[in-house]
């Protein structure tokens, strides 16, 4: 493990990837209803194009992107629009969502669609095609990919970094993408390189996925300038800045974007899905999602249509065990707990994690004993101990000015190591929203 590329600090949570890593992905049956929020991405919500009663086919555009940083929404199954209403969203709010009653008799074939060969599209127009397909980053943030593939002219990108770290414990969806669709990944990289007008790419994979590394090496096309870099297994290796540090040995300046040092990071599943768009004409309507944890009876990797309700997923995976305690969308480190079984699975949902009481046992919050473990954990070299004290004292201004709250990426490493169980990253998230409120008011 030593000697492998990585970044400083970080943590080593138990991985638990063995639960699902070996399970090949299978198509998830179409549910009786899909719920498609107009906002499944970072940016402006899309504008609904359909009305209740409209019939839609699988892959139809049902909501149009609004503005540049926004993303188009497609029907993920054929059926009838039942309503457009406020519906629980995985982020805990109510969001305007299109409710489609799935046609049980439909074959769910895609409507034939004319997609140009990507090789024939001009570099600058590639991102438009990608935007049309509603592609957003599948690495967790769901940032519209066409925006990233259109870097500002004054900060040209020189290196495309494919993020195949999947550093969150439990999750294995990216792992399965590499094992099952390596050529799609390479195809996606080619498209990305063409869109960016560059030639060089790097794939960063954590050392705990030897079979994926092997597969990517085996299938690597000879004519491509792409390097496979094996990285140390450490959380949050997959965070953009950490990955860039490990691969390029450069730090993205505080407050700047990766393009400031000529890099662009894309998730491996995002790349594969971009390729799929051109290959199949299929917009982004489903993805591989890991359903895992000791609290679900039949864990596995599934290609689930977006909009499928959590309730349906659980039911299909054998239901919850007796001691299941917490349901999380995403990984255990950054994922969000879900209170409502009706929330739909979305583009950003990389995994559904059902933890048992043993796995997520809460202990009492003790006073901070200044052990410094959080400082030794923070990958962006903040001082969570001080930030925690400032947050508790509600001294937000100092938190931003002196303690650099804005550089915190809420990775949770500090909370993970804190022996006193202080919910540091939670406090930082709250402080951030408090600051936003202060700024807007």
């Amino acid at each position: 493990m030593k000697g492998m590329l990585s970044f400083k600090h970080g943590v080593h949570p138990p991985e638990h990837k063995e639960i699902t890593a070996g399970i090949a992905s299978k198509r998830f049956p179409f549910p009786s209803e899909v719920i498609l929020p107009l906002s499944q991405h970072i940016g402006t919500p899309a504008k609904a194009l359909v009305h209740p009663g409209d019939h839609v086919e699988r892959g139809d555009v049902i909501a149009q992107a609004e503005g540049f940083i926004s993303s188009t929404v497609h029907a993920t199954a054929a059926g009838t629009v039942r309503s457009i209403e406020l519906w629980p969203h995985p982020n805990g709010t109510m969001q305007r969502s299109i409710r489609i009653t799935v046609d049980p008799n439909s074959t769910q074939m895609r409507r034939p669609r004319s997609i140009p060969r990507w090789q024939d599209v001009k570099d600058v127009d590639l991102s438009k095609e990608i935007a049309k397909a509603g592609i957003v980053g599948l690495g967790g943030a769901a940032f519209p990919s066409h925006v990233k593939l259109n870097p500002p002219k004054d900060q040209p990108v020189e290196l495309l970094i494919i993020n195949a770290c999947e550093c969150e414990p439990y999750l294995t969806s990216d792992h399965r993408v590499m094992l099952e669709q390596p050529d799609m990944v390479y195809e996606g990289i080619r498209i990305g390189l063409k869109a960016l007008g560059i030639t060089r790419a790097v794939i960063g994979i954590e050392g705990n996925k030897p079979d994926a590394i092997e597969m990517m090496r085996k299938t690597k096309p000879d004519d491509m300038d792409v390097e496979i870099v094996v990285l140390r297994t450490k959380y949050p290796q997959g965070a953009e800045k950490m990955l860039i540090k490990a691969v390029m040995d450069r730090e993205v300046p505080s407050g700047a974007l990766p393009s400031a040092i000529g890099a662009m990071v894309q998730n491996v599943a995002t790349a594969a899905n971009i390729a799929a768009v051109f290959k199949t004409g299929h917009p982004l309507i489903e993805r591989i999602i890991t359903v895992t944890g000791r609290g679900i009876r039949k864990p596995g990797n599934w290609r689930i249509p977006f909009g499928t309700k959590l309730r349906d997923v659980i039911e299909h995976c054998g239901g919850l065990t007796e001691d299941a305690a917490e349901i999380v969308f995403g990984g255990p480190m950054m994922g969000q707990s879900q209170a409502n079984l009706d929330v739909p699975v979305l583009k950003a949902t990389g995994g559904i994690l059902i933890l048992t009481n043993d796995e997520c046992k809460r202990q009492d919050i003790m006073p901070c004993i200044k052990c410094g473990k959080c400082v030794e954990a923070c990958p962006v070299f903040l001082n969570p101990q001080l930030m925690g004290a400032l947050a508790k004292a509600e001294r937000y201004e100092e938190l931003v000015e002196e303690a650099h709250l804005n550089d915190c990426m809420l990775c949770g490493s500090c909370s993970f190591v804190c022996p006193s169980n202080i919910p540091l990253s939670q406090w930082f998230a709250m402080s951030k929203s408090q600051m936003r409120k202060l700024v807007t008011s």
Binding site: P14, T321, S425
Partner: protein, 340 residues
């Protein structure tokens, strides 16, 4: 579980490391077992009486004056009591040990708001109080005489009364070198196994090392601190010894007195040491340096307690000065850019 009302909702991260503060504290107590056993082996029932009294003082104070009635169970007051007791001479009156425990916990810890919030090491605050209040009793080192079960001094002196039993005294290795008419350097072997006189817990470097290394292995103490203390004490005393202005050989400096004990157990108290590793280096170097200065030129034979307390006082300042360098910056304050 099928009903959504039973689901837990918590903020991320949803998993936590296995380490907990309470468990760390009790590990420290466990790691002290060899030292406790050694002190009882060397000093007999007196050790039990003195340590018992100081633990009782600490626990009672924590229970009576602590803001949180459950705080006794977190183990930190037990550590304070054990360490205070182990830092006292064998013949020390129990009432004084009890008083030290009270003072340390009340004015070294609870007045700041309890666990984690104190500036000074509570055990050392208690000891410094005792040293200043009863300087004679706390510097009386009984000669080891009689049987294992005879008391080493007037442990049972009545509260507020002077210890009256006249004990034959024996100088400590440090006293032997500093104040004796003919200075003697005690052999390292004796210092290592603890056959000398001194405070209950400090005499045997061997047992302290066992406990300290166990803690370092478990990750419950920051090894930067003891290491930097040893390096700086060794280097500073080595220089003075080499140029002939000190009579303390550097190895003697490391193994005599309470520097081992202090470096592994007192200086490493997380609450009262710096948060960053860089800060811990500075802190350790400061302690090592001050110990050497006080031992060579000060009025007292030993300076570990004062060195640690003085550096405890510096910790808030060190913490200010050793903030980690923010990722993606050169380390200079980003504030300046923001201001301009």
């Amino acid at each position: 579980m099928t009903d959504s009302t039973q689901v837990k909702i918590t903020a991320s991260p949803h998993v936590r490391s296995a380490e907990s503060t309470v468990q760390i504290m009790w590990s420290v107590v466990i790691s002290l077992v060899p030292v406790l056993a050694a002190s009882i082996f060397f000093f007999g029932p007196s050790a039990i009486l003195v340590i018992g009294a100081s633990v009782a003082g600490c626990l009672l104070t924590e229970r009576l004056f602590g803001s949180n009635p459950g705080s006794v169970a977190d183990g930190s007051a037990v550590i304070t009591g054990l360490l205070l007791g182990l830092s006292l001479p064998p013949g020390f009156p129990m009432w004084m040990a009890f008083l030290g425990g009270f003072f340390g916990v009340a004015f070294g810890k609870l007045i700041f708001g309890g666990l984690g919030q104190n500036i000074f090491n509570p055990a050392l605050v208690g000891r410094a109080f005792l040293q200043a209040a009863f300087p004679v009793a706390i510097t009386t080192w009984p000669a080891r005489a009689g049987n294992w079960w005879t008391l080493q001094g007037d442990n049972l002196a009545l509260p507020f009364m002077t210890p009256v039993v006249d004990t034959a005294t024996a100088a400590t290795p440090l006293g032997n070198l500093k104040f004796a008419d003919e200075p003697v350097v005690t052999p390292i072997f004796d210092l290592f196994f603890g056959t000398t006189s001194g405070s209950l817990g400090e005499t045997s470097a061997l047992f302290i090392l066992i406990g300290g290394l166990y803690l370092a292995y478990r990750g419950h103490l920051n090894w930067h601190i003891p290491l930097s203390i040893f390096v700086s004490a060794f280097a500073v005393s080595g220089i003075f010894y080499a140029i002939g202005i000190s009579q303390f050989p550097p190895f003697f400096m490391l193994f005599s007195g309470s520097i081992m004990f202090g470096a592994f157990y007192f200086a490493t108290d997380m609450v009262t040491s710096p948060v960053t590793n860089k800060g811990c280096w500075l802190y350790g170097f400061g302690i090592g340096f001050l110990v050497v200065i006080i031992r060579i030129w000060g009025g007292l034979p030993e300076g570990v307690m004062y060195a640690i307390l003085l550096m405890n006082a510096m910790v808030p300042f060190i913490n200010r000065a050793t903030q980690p360098r923010l990722f993606g910056t050169s380390g200079k304050k980003k504030k300046k850019e923001a201001a301009s």
